[in-house]
Symmetry: C2
Subunit: 506 residues, 2 copies
């Protein structure tokens, strides 16, 4: 028997997946919990991933005419109440501001003072406050469409927070648009889902299934919620972006009316779409391994780290000179739509140095020692390969091929994630088989099991609820590209015309 | 007598400066008030200025090793209380979260529920919550310096809000650093002020005086506050960025300790620096004229608007083709560190179209009609010149010279602002003259008068306070480049060794 491979992360994914996740977040220096319950501190290595997501989405949005703006953090309670389903959906998780100053209490400590006439809710989402602006901006069909996005923090109080995946405060973008016709609004809803798909596939290297939520899983107040779902390595689903067709519900609530070309007064059709720092959680769980984080090059905080090897003081100047000149050369190279981001780490901490960068998931590690220099080469490790799998490459070739190597890594990560999903996505026809699929074989190790079950569903809330209660399995989406097919509901065997994606989820 | 020039903004600056400001904000479509008291909606044209400021500061900060991160919106009350002067400074303007959900009240309407054990304050600034993270990140001198910046919204409750200048919620960046030595922290404090100076002078085209705040005007909890002050067109001062040397005050409060190279346990030295959306208010008041906003090209939302002139339907295709090809050519041009941003406006609304762009302050307006096309030329208006002052330029020449023209505009705006400041900055020795300088000649038109008085000050709080009470004039700063000079305090005539900047301020 071979001896057990030492891994940088303890426990491994198989040993304890949820704890592995927490340990990767820590070891990769992405983020940490804060003393404020449910709120996280996003550290520089994590925040730069978010900055890259912002850059990519800003470009994708801008191409479709969307402009950035900024709306108030606070929403008057009365605004939130304008749309009944909406407030119902968020009431249980609202941070409420009730006072606007502090004063000395009887025991000398500070207490809230200056009670507000109307409580303010810290935005959980901004349909109602942005709707108020839209109602002022629109009077004629000529003012439409309005296409707005904001980058913002939002708060949804979490009783069981989990870093990146479920935090009381998170960062996101929320797009909001108003249109003269239903058709145009529906088209926009799809268009923004496509932008998310592009982000997920081409940048995050996460394969996704685009689909439609069931009525029970819709955004509160929406007519239709489109989403994309990705499979994590524990085979659970993660929702990675949603786009909501809101019909005229919010236009009625916020009084967004316009004079049509036919001089009739009509309510606008609105759309909203959002993606959040949760995507970083998805990135970790899609690509990470038992040595830590693995970052797809197109979204990585940095592409390459140079590790000068200085074994004796007399080596230093030669090694550092070679390193600095290589840095300069690499930084002059473009990759995707930005410059190559290069780190240098000359800390004298032995093998821990290489491991630090493995755990942080940087795509390429380049060791540079006196022997490499005399060969005019570099010693390269790729994060998509084992940590011992390193190769000497001529310096010139490395510089000229680095973007090709990065593309290869990007592609490999996507293919690996796709293979995992395909391996654990099955058509299931029988109820017993379905229940078995979602029941852990070993009840003491329930973390990794199941996957995506493509099964028929009759469309009833009752069947959806029954499966949720029995198995904690939900309908993740009704795939947009699913073909019409006759079958029997996995729960009640009543006729069904399409398969849906069932899975456990985050 | 010439007849009065018609202006796009009513009232003019001379007629009513504060109201002129509000009207420019409105006419230029930068921002608007929101239904949430003291909070503003930053519209796309305004937000893109902020995005440009973010880009410039991110680059300047990054050059000095600063990395972006993100910390919680909420600060536990007990954290804020850790530094006595600090909490004292912010207690009167804190938004306080006391509940984490909503429930149906007796009359069926929603009321706050789920009272928090400890109230949370919406961050007015983040020294205390970031200090908590620093205390965990630092253990040895090898961990220092830590150089962090965050882009965030902050809330300081305002009883008399004014858009961009004084809002309850505003956007800003706050930099925070921790250092092993006092010298290094002081150096960082100066370095970040220099970054702000570069932003102000080279991008916003706002001349500034760098200086030190008096003890009375310091950031609550700071040992030393550096600032830069700009003169607005009503001759009042606007503080446009501050950098605080915090000594070991916040390190003690947050327990940021490290083991020194000599193996002694020491408190770190911390620094914080910030600039906010207030800068946009400064931009408006520095450059705007009676026709609206004027944007310096290096920070402008867009550089040039193309205005196709289509007088009869048969002109359309030729004019639009010429316009589109020009757009393409211009967008391939770089200006400063971004691509030229080009707008096209083909709305059929007559003269209002050109005026819209004048009011929005775009640096260049380019009219393109059939006659221009037959001459292979364009008809160009510059926003730094009168609205009638337009000139025909050969198309090729325009394309090749546009960045030079933009540089000229940038330079002109800076020089104009500098001239205004120099014209209204005076050395004043006598108390009577000082009081006269700050007293409006016409009490019915008090808006524009005074300026910067460079006068001696003995250093006493009493004199500073007396002048503030008598005249609403404060010491804006003790200039960093001020030379030592003997004189008598403008208030008490006691000996003084330096002049300070006295002014009314925003």
């Amino acid at each position: 028997m071979g001896k057990k491979e030492v891994t940088a992360i303890t426990p491994t994914r198989v040993e304890d997946y949820p704890e592995w996740y927490q340990q990767v977040v820590k070891a990769s220096d992405l983020a940490e919990s804060s003393p404020v319950r449910g709120c996280m501190v996003i550290k520089p290595w994590g925040y730069s991933i978010w900055e890259n997501i912002m850059r990519v989405l800003n470009n994708l949005f801008k191409e479709t005419g969307v402009k950035n703006a900024y709306f108030p953090l606070f929403i008057p309670l009365s605004f939130l109440e304008k749309e009944a389903e909406h407030v119902e959906g968020f009431a249980k998780e609202c941070a409420v501001v009730t006072h606007h100053r502090l004063k000395k209490g009887p025991d000398g400590s500070l207490v809230p003072a200056g009670a507000l006439n109307e409580p303010l809710v810290v935005r959980p989402t901004s349909e109602t406050i942005i709707g108020d602006s839209f109602s002022k901006w629109v009077s004629s069909y000529r003012d439409l469409p309005i296409l707005i996005n904001q980058w913002a923090n939002v708060v949804r109080w979490e009783m069981r927070p989990r870093i990146f995946l479920r935090t009381s405060e998170f960062l996101w973008q929320e797009g909001h648009s108003a249109h003269a016709t239903q058709e145009e609004a529906v088209e926009r809803t799809n268009m923004m889902l496509d932008a998310y798909e592009k982000l997920a596939k081409d940048y995050l290297a996460i394969p996704v299934i685009k689909g439609r939520k069931t009525p029970a899983e819709r955004f509160p107040g929406a007519v239709d919620t489109l989403c994309m779902e990705a499979m994590m390595q524990d085979r659970k689903a993660l929702q990675a972006g949603t786009s909501h067709f809101l019909g005229q519900n919010f236009a009625r609530a916020s009084n967004i009316k316009f004079q049509s070309a036919q001089e009739k007064e009509e309510y606008a059709w609105t759309v909203s779409w959002g993606a959040s720092t949760r995507l970083i959680g998805g990135l970790i769980m899609t690509h990470g391994d038992d040595d830590g984080l693995i970052l797809p090059p197109k979204i990585a905080s940095a592409h390459v780290v140079l590790l000068p090897i200085i074994k004796k003081p007399s080596d230093r100047s030669g090694v550092m000179e070679y390193t600095e000149s290589l840095v300069k050369e690499l930084r002059d190279t473009s990759y995707d739509d930005r410059r190559l981001e290069v780190e240098i780490d000359d800390r004298d901490i032995g093998g821990a140095r290489g491991w630090d960068w493995i755990k942080k998931g940087i795509p390429l590690r380049v060791e540079i020692g006196p022997r490499d220099i005399s060969n005019n080469s570099v010693f390269v490790g790729r994060r998509d390969r084992g940590h011992r799998d390193k190769a000497s490459i001529k310096r010139d070739r490395f510089v000229s091929e680095i973007t090709t190597i990065l593309d290869e890594i990007q592609e490999n990560l996507f293919e690996r994630a796709l293979s995992l999903r395909e391996a654990h996505t099955v058509n299931i026809e029988g109820k017993n088989e379905f229940y078995e699929f979602f029941t852990p074989e070993n009840p003491e190790k329930p973390e990794i099991h199941g996957g995506f079950a493509l099964s028929h569903w009759c469309g009833s809330d009752a069947c959806e609820l029954k499966i949720k209660e029995d198995l904690k399995v939900t309908i993740r989406c009704i795939p947009l590209d699913g073909e019409s097919e006759k079958g029997g509901c996995i729960c009640c065997n009543q006729p069904s015309m399409h398969r849906v994606v069932f899975a456990k989820s985050y």
